[in-house]
């Protein structure tokens, strides 16, 4: 049949395909190394006060590391790895990264099948899930190889970093939830911009006034969706949603305080000062947002999306000006985890430490993975790299300010089952939001379903 011309084309294609298949299967991992020859950068030999003693053995080692992010983060990290490889010349870093979508799913599958990179970035929402197994390395067992740990330990006593007694995540950077506002909108409405001394009531008033001046603008797009803001407000009114200390952990909706908050919210919804169920692309980029509760770490990308000047303030520390001033401590933007099964524990720890403390690394990374967690690095970045100007400086500044001025720093309890409980709250809340139930129905259902989830997890 090959004599017939009609078959020449398919035959050639088939041959091509077969050859390619064989070649493709042969180009396995070893063939695809991203070999980045360390380029002589203008890095001055940096004085490291926190440098551990180099390990004795010098057999060549390849470290795999993965993270998610946008392209600026990818570039910054790869630059930082070049510096690392210059300094520790027996280590080659093989990076891989992706956008946000699908990253966590892939990481979970990789960890599950013992195929994970040696070092990987993971979300603070997953710490508790990961902690329930032995798959992540416990940093406490290797303190001597990661000097940064000693300084950071006090801020890492939270479920974002630890599971039980194990420390399984080192921060890639820290962040706080802050208030981002559009200066131009406030100016045009002739309303004073939010300050660090706002209360929730006074903030709400400002939203109302801005909206009255310009009906197209809203105060915020839905602050109560964040798992951290609503519990904070309740705490400021003296009520804790989840009592993590009791056994099993218990959820209480505290109807009196809750109604204070929701009555206030209803009023704002009525005035349209904040949108109830509007879908108009609410964002700074759409030009119809006056302010937003936002993680400080996304400030640079938020600024890039709009042409209007943005300003930053800390979250209100009280609801109406009375009572204890309560703020939340900074949380990790994301975490570096190390696979406990890695054959290169020392090198992995060296890398994490390097990213946290090395001055040249900090200079390269800037705020791409969050605000530097180590105080000295933050100082260095703030004064010598940014020189106090630019949006990154403002970001560092507002994170610093969010750690000042409060009487108490508090994080909501996150016992086992907290993700399910939070999701249950969300479901009940949406019924209330879309007027499928009234406030009492919402609070009753939220309390019931949250407790169901907490009890189930405690079994």
């Amino acid at each position: 049949m090959f004599s017939n011309k009609r078959f020449a084309m398919p035959a050639v294609l088939a041959l091509f395909v077969l050859l390619s298949a064989v070649l493709g299967a042969c180009s396995s991992k070893s063939g695809g190394e991203a070999s980045s020859s360390p380029s002589p950068s203008a890095a001055s030999p940096s004085q490291q006060s926190q440098e551990p003693a180099s390990p004795e053995k010098k057999d060549p080692v390849t470290l795999e590391i993965s993270w998610w992010g946008g392209d600026t983060r990818h570039a910054a990290l790869q630059e930082a790895f070049k510096l690392f490889q210059q300094k520790y010349d027996w280590i080659t870093v093989k990076p891989t990264f992706s956008g946000f979508d699908g990253y966590a799913d892939k990481l979970t599958v990789q960890l599950s099948t013992d195929n994970a990179p040696d070092v990987f970035m993971f979300s603070r929402a997953l710490t508790q899930q990961f902690g329930q197994s032995d798959v992540l390395l416990n940093y406490y067992e290797h303190k001597e190889l990661i000097p940064a740990l000693a300084e950071l330990d006090p801020i890492m006593q939270s479920p974002y970093y630890k599971f039980g007694d194990k420390l399984i995540g080192m921060p890639t950077g820290i962040t706080s939830t802050v208030l981002v506002y559009n200066k131009k909108v406030f100016e045009e409405a002739q309303v004073p911009v939010p300050t660090d001394d706002e209360t929730w009531l006074s903030l709400g008033e400002k939203w109302s006034k801005v909206h009255q001046a310009n009906p197209k603008v809203f105060g915020d797009s839905g602050w109560f969706y964040m798992p951290e803001a609503y519990p904070l407000i309740m705490k400021q009114l003296g009520a804790e949603l989840i009592d993590g200390a009791s056994n099993p952990p218990k959820a209480s909706m505290h109807p009196d305080q809750a109604k204070t908050v929701w009555t206030w919210t209803e009023k704002l919804w009525e005035e349209n000062a904040i949108p109830r169920d509007s879908s108009d692309t609410i964002g700074f980029d759409a030009g119809n947002l006056a302010s937003s509760l936002s993680a400080a770490s996304v400030i640079p990308s938020t600024v890039a999306m709009t042409e209007d000047p943005l300003g930053f303030a800390t979250l209100p520390k009280t609801f109406d000006g009375s009572g204890t001033k309560i703020s939340m401590p900074p949380v990790p933007t994301s975490l570096w985890g190390i696979d406990a099964r890695t054959k290169h524990k020392e090198e992995a720890l060296l890398l994490v430490n390097f990213l946290l403390t090395d001055k040249d690394a900090i200079k390269t990374l800037k705020v791409e993975t969050g605000v530097p967690a180590v105080a000295e690095s933050l100082e260095y970045l703030s004064t010598e790299v940014f020189g106090g100007t630019g949006v990154e400086s403002e970001m560092l500044d507002v994170v610093k300010r969010s750690q000042q001025g409060a009487d108490e720093y508090w994080l909501p309890a996150q016992p086992l089952g907290a993700p399910d409980a939070n999701a249950a709250f969300q479901t009940a809340f949406e019924k209330y939001l879309f007027k499928q139930v009234d406030i009492d129905g919402f609070l009753a259902e939220a309390e019931k379903t949250m407790n169901e989830k907490l009890q189930e997890a405690a079994k």
């Binding site: 979508d101 599958v109 990308s301």
Partner: protein
């Protein structure tokens, strides 16, 4: 005579009008993408929608093409072309082979296996991900191009096999029988008689497998790690940070760019539709 040609002319005009109106509906998303790709990021989400960019920028395309610097989008296109072409060719060959078996041959367990074939489309892939990953790992396929096109060598998937099977079953048995009487082997019947008569569905398979392999995000995401092996959807995704922040403009621009080869392939392939199939020559 005159009235019928007038009627058919009027019908044709009416058809053009209806098609053109509907086309607006179908073109709109591409239009949105193209137009947005030239707007600065701050303008993309502006309300009301800007039908024509007020400010123009090529920055998204430049940033997108540059990709990682050491690995440009040209490389990404090359990777995608490679994987896609191998997949398409392998799929066409193997799926027709298998479909012929199901459509024309009789063998033990055929009906059960046919249901099994359909059943492979019914189990959500989320739950077979971990064992599949392990199998691929065992076969040393992780982080290889082969992981992406290996499925194509095993029939390409139930969709194509089922589709071709339906088509083959629409062809009269007489063809096979007369060929058989002439002494043709089964393979000969498959290759020389049935296959050529399947050209409409083969064109369809080419278009569909090309589009789906090209646009496949999940498989390369899970199985590839080396950046220089990334395909188009995965590469575009690396520009996007959490919840839609990041370089949305670049993602839109590169998506727009990535549609061009798809359009070309589709347009070229569907032209062959016009020729239709050779008449079901019962002669000889």
């Amino acid at each position: 005579m005159r009235s019928s040609s007038f009627r058919s002319a009027a019908a044709t005009v009416a058809l053009y009008v209806v098609l053109s109106l509907l086309s607006l509906l179908f073109v709109f998303p591409l239009y949105w993408l193209v137009v947005s790709s030239f707007k600065p990021l701050s303008a993309i989400f502006r309300i009301p929608f800007e039908w024509w960019p007020v400010d123009w920028t090529f920055k998204h395309y430049k940033d997108g093409w540059r990709f990682m610097g050491s690995v440009t989008f040209a490389r990404v296109y090359l990777n995608t072309a490679y994987v896609t072409i191998v997949s398409v060719v392998a799929t066409v060959f193997t799926s027709t082979l298998v479909a012929f078996g199901f459509a024309r041959l009789r063998f033990l367990g055929k009906n059960v296996l046919f249901v099994a074939l359909l059943a492979t489309m019914m189990l959500p892939t989320q739950v077979t991900l971990v064992p599949t990953f392990l199998i691929f790992d065992y076969l040393n396929l992780i982080d290889t191009y082969a992981a992406l096109y290996i499925g194509a060598f095993f029939g390409g998937g139930a969709f194509y096999i089922f589709l071709i099977r339906q088509f083959i079953m629409g062809l009269p048995f007489d063809l096979d029988e007369s060929a058989r009487l002439d002494g043709a082997s089964t393979f000969r019947i498959y290759w020389s008689i049935i296959l050529p008569l399947c050209s409409p569905v083969l064109i369809t398979i080419v278009i569909l497998s090309f589009t789906w392999t090209y646009n496949d995000f999940f498989t390369p995401l899970i199985f590839l790690s080396s950046i220089e092996k990334f395909t188009v959807p995965v590469a575009i995704n690396t520009f996007l940070d959490e919840a839609g922040t990041g370089k949305v403009g670049v993602a839109i621009a590169m998506t727009t760019l990535s549609v061009v080869p798809l359009l070309a392939v589709f347009f070229a392939a569907q032209r062959r539709f016009m020729q239709g199939i050779a008449t079901t020559g019962l002669k000889g």
